[in-house]
């Protein structure tokens, strides 16, 4: 990772990987909303960051001026060798209309609430097993002992990859997630090779032995009477890995962080389990994990800002969710908040396709954890050891928890 100068003024030189932003972005966003609702940076070749709910909504719904060709900010531009819109590298997240509509309709049934319901029991049992594994420990790491495993197992199960490959699959997932921030394209391709081979083997196994899972679903799917191209299938499988794992892992771990540091909320949730659906929405609002990005399609003026073709647009759903114009007491976590029009899963045509799955995983993971451990706090003297992920997915990573009686 290159050394970058620290940010002194986020309004004119923002960087979402700056240590101050990673540690605690909320005061930065509050100040920007007051002073400069669309911040600018020359870093990454130029980009913009709207910090209000209204402007984030406007960008999310404007697919004419903003392309999803690349949704993760990197050093430099995707360049001419990048897969073109409208299909992109990982359809449908990287697709623009009109192809987006086709690719999205194709995968939505695989993530519908009906399908999600069928794997809830698997998730609950898996969480129970993870908790069994750490039952002798005085300190349980809510991130590395628990949250990080859950979505990996869920995605492996949904894709229909062998359970015995759990460790290998987790290793691959880490390479894919780290690859998002790897600026050296050749290294990224080299790191990726074993994953490509593994997935191709799994796909071949599904061709030989079709079964009821997401991989066979993609193999059977058709667009206008034709099977999907292999690169479409591969891209969508990679999308499921990238989009469905550290996001949900972050959501679960940040929720546990909140409960460890807010004993009254933990006690209420233990005593009033019927609050869980409201609590999950508030966890999603207050600790929204996911920030997306867009590229400006052509020069145009947005809210008085002269945007240039290929400028980045950092689409901060977490910032929108803290906007006091959109939420009463936006800076307070209210576990039974009834009106909560949060945009943690995005807005418009790119609404997170896995939102029903993510919600279920968060609910079940938190339910099982607090059922097993109704009282826990941050490990004594360890408050400073809590770490947060850097980049466009924010969540607690190292989260040592002391289980109390």
């Amino acid at each position: 990772m290159s050394i970058k100068p620290p940010v002194e003024d986020f309004a004119t030189d923002w960087d979402h990987t700056d240590p101050a932003w990673v540690a605690n972005p909320y005061p930065i966003w509050d100040e920007l909303r007051e002073k400069c609702p669309v911040a600018h940076t020359n870093r990454y070749g130029g980009g913009w960051f709207p910090s209000t709910y209204e402007l984030v909504s406007a960008v999310a719904n404007d697919t004419d001026n903003f392309t999803s060709r690349t949704v993760v900010i990197g050093n430099g531009r995707p360049g001419e060798d990048a897969p073109p819109a409208p299909i992109g590298v990982a359809p449908p997240i990287s697709s623009d209309p009109p192809f987006h509509h086709i690719a999205r309709r194709l995968i939505l049934p695989a993530f519908s609430p009906g399908v999600v319901n069928t794997i809830e029991t698997f998730v609950r049992e898996y969480c129970g097993k993870l908790l069994d594994n750490v039952s002798a420990q005085e300190i349980v790491n809510g991130g590395s002992d628990y949250a990080q495993y859950i979505p990996v197992a869920v995605i492996r199960q949904m894709l229909g990859f062998p359970e015995k490959d759990d460790d290998l699959f987790r290793h691959f997932v880490h390479i894919v997630l780290e690859g998002i921030d790897e600026p050296d394209l050749e290294k990224r391709i080299a790191d990726f090779e074993p994953i490509r081979i593994y997935i191709e083997d799994q796909v071949q196994d599904h061709i030989d032995n079709p079964r009821d899972d997401l991989t066979s679903y993609l193999l059977n799917a058709e667009i206008a009477g034709s099977k999907l191209l292999p690169e479409h299938i591969f891209g969508t499988m990679i999308l499921v890995l990238v989009a469905g794992i550290d996001t949900t892992w972050s959501g679960i771990a940040s929720s546990l962080y909140h409960l460890a540091t807010n004993p009254k909320d933990l006690e209420r949730l233990v005593n009033e389990p019927e609050l869980m659906p409201l609590a999950v929405e508030e966890f999603l609002r207050f600790y929204s994990p996911v920030t997306m990005a867009r590229l400006v399609k052509e020069d145009f003026d947005f809210n008085g800002c002269p945007m240039k073709k290929d400028d980045w647009l950092l689409l901060g759903f977490p910032a929108a969710n803290r906007d006091p114009k959109a939420f009463e007491d936006a800076d307070k976590f209210i576990i039974d908040r009834k009106i909560n029009r949060h945009v943690a899963f995005g807005l418009g045509i790119h609404r997170c396709a896995g939102s029903n799955l993510a919600r279920m995983e968060m609910r079940v993971a938190i339910e099982e954890f607090i059922k097993r451990y109704p009282k826990f706090t941050l490990a004594a003297g360890d408050a400073d050891s809590v770490t947060w992920s850097q980049g466009q997915v924010r969540g607690a990573r190292n989260l040592p928890l002391t289980i109390t009686k």
């Binding site: 309709r105 939505l108 049934p109 993530f111 519908s112 609430p113 009906g114 659906p277 929405e281 009834k338 009106i339 909560n340 029009r341 949060h342 945009v343 899963f345 807005l347 418009g348 045509i349 609404r351 939102s355 029903n356 919600r359």
Partner: protein, 64 residues
Amino acid sequence: MKVVINADACTGQGRCFGIAPELFDFDDLGNGVVKGDGTVTPELVEKARLAEANCPEHAISIEE
């Protein structure tokens, strides 16, 4: 009173059928659909209003 979903605005956020499963269901794509003719009985008025107020896409309306 009736609840109505604007199908063009709905993107399947899933809040309505989470809040008021008595009034809303989901289709194969996970988009919200109104159950029956959408009539809201008195005991469901509050849930109907919450579903309207929580939809991030502003896709739900209430006809008095």
